[in-house]
């Protein structure tokens, strides 16, 4: 199937991009890596009039470290994250998660910004941002905004981005030697979107975990923080944590799995991701 016809521009600056987007508000779509947009267009599930290709804005392809923070540009490709020594050292959760995103050829092209702007509820990176309490940077006709990840994801393919806005990057703060992570997902095949997945971030003291953040994906219309389970885990009680998932999560049912099955799997993943944090400290 071939895409319906569209016009295409490749602005050279962010300002131009924002300008075009505000002029053509309704019919225009941002094109980044195209790894989700192009399939939708080729299947004629979407038919925008204009694609605004921001792929030329090289200044948004970067990975930078600060004292306790990591900043990643929106146009940073999945493969950049995968191979980044900085990410592996400062935020290994992302290195772990990125290997589960699609396949090498898609990671060569797909971008962090695209994954976050798309907001697929079963995607890894939005959940990681939620677990990491990241701040998402956007630019728009009204200037720049910073949106906490927990406020950014608002539904199936829905975000806090307003028409005409572009996601420019993310900032992950609070990094330090006491951070620990776990990641686990279940997908039918390698590289598929997850049936259920979990990104776990916490701080580790000699005795226990604190600041535990459990971001589940594939369970609802957006990535979900399991707060009750997290505090139980902070208190060192795994069985209470598993039980708490029933209040934290109200998983969806679909052809892949029933709600009950997802809830069960979420519990299994919780144990596995937690064990990973133990192994890391061992």
């Amino acid at each position: 199937m071939k895409s319906a016809a569209f016009d295409y521009v490749r602005p050279g600056t962010l300002e131009q991009a924002l300008q075009i987007l505000s002029e053509r508000a309704e019919g225009a779509r941002v094109l980044a890596g195209g790894q989700s947009l192009a399939p939708a267009l080729n299947l004629r599930l979407a038919a925008p009039e204009l694609l605004v290709d921001i792929g030329g804005l090289a200044q948004f392809r970067y990975i930078e470290e600060g004292a306790d923070a990591l900043r990643i540009g929106a146009l940073t490709r999945h493969v950049d994250v995968e191979r980044s020594e900085i990410v592996a050292r400062r935020c290994p959760l992302l290195s772990r998660a990125i290997a589960h995103v699609a396949h090498p050829a898609i990671r060569n092209r797909g971008t962090l910004g695209g994954s976050l702007a798309l907001a697929d509820p079963a995607a890894e990176l939005p959940a990681c941002m939620l677990a990491l309490d990241a701040v998402i940077h956007v630019a728009g006709p009204g200037g720049e905004r910073r949106i906490a990840a927990r406020d950014f994801f608002q539904g199936v393919f829905e975000t806090a981005l307003r028409p005409g806005e572009v996601l420019t990057g993310v900032e992950i703060g609070g990094l330090g030697p006491d951070r620990t992570y776990g990641f686990a997902e279940l997908s039918r095949r390698r590289g598929d979107f997850a049936i259920v997945g979990l990104a776990l971030a916490a701080r580790r003291s000699s005795t226990a975990l604190s600041d535990v953040r459990l971001a589940f994906f594939g369970v609802a219309d957006r990535p979900v923080l399991a707060r009750a389970a997290a505090s139980a885990l902070g208190a060192g009680d795994m069985s209470a944590a598993r039980a708490a998932l029933a209040t934290d999560l109200k998983p969806v049912s679909d052809a892949q799995a029933s709600s009950a099955m997802r809830l069960h799997l979420a519990g299994v993943l919780l144990e596995r991701a937690f064990n990973e944090t133990l192994e890391a400290s061992a």
Partner: protein
């Protein structure tokens, strides 16, 4: 409206006017007659359309030709003529790692990229890195054998 593009395909400079909706795989196949880049799904799953864009293997069906303006594109025809993957191709032939051959160009490009990134992959890694390339005919075992054999032969040659 068609838009002008200039790109380098298999080392040759190409200029053309393309409809923005035409994806790179169709452009290569229909406009340039490079039909070694195949089409299996046009939604990014099968990998038959794999080509190299500025040195990285991508899905030809998920990149529009206009996006390749100014880029360097290598197709199976190009890497065959340059001899870059002659050993890999020979290993595929020896091992009968292709049947209908429709997945083969994409599989070869993916395998070559794997070997450039990881010179000594184990079988599980090979399977992982090729997991985005569908083959209905071979059952993959022979492909994994051929890639493994090439990795070993290249390592030998380096010594």
């Amino acid at each position: 409206m068609n838009q002008p593009i200039r790109l380098t395909v298999n080392g040759e400079l190409v200029t053309a006017a393309v409809a923005p909706r035409q994806h790179l795989a169709d452009f290569l196949r229909e406009t340039l007659g490079l039909t070694g880049t195949h089409i299996g799904c046009e939604h990014g799953v099968c990998g038959a359309c794999s080509v190299r864009l500025d040195g990285a293997v991508v899905r030809g069906c998920l990149v529009y030709a206009v996006q390749a303006d100014g880029a360097r594109v290598d197709t199976i025809e190009g890497v065959s003529d340059s001899g870059e993957i002659a050993d890999l191709q020979a290993a595929f032939a020896t091992r009968n790692a292709l049947q209908c051959g429709y997945c083969t160009p994409g599989m070869l490009l993916a395998a070559q990229e794997l070997l450039l990134v990881n010179a000594a992959p184990d079988r599980e890694t090979i399977r992982d890195r090729l997991s985005g390339n569908y083959c209905r005919c071979t059952g993959y075992h022979a492909i994994v054998d051929a890639v493994e054999a090439t990795a070993r032969a290249r390592a030998e040659a380096k010594r």
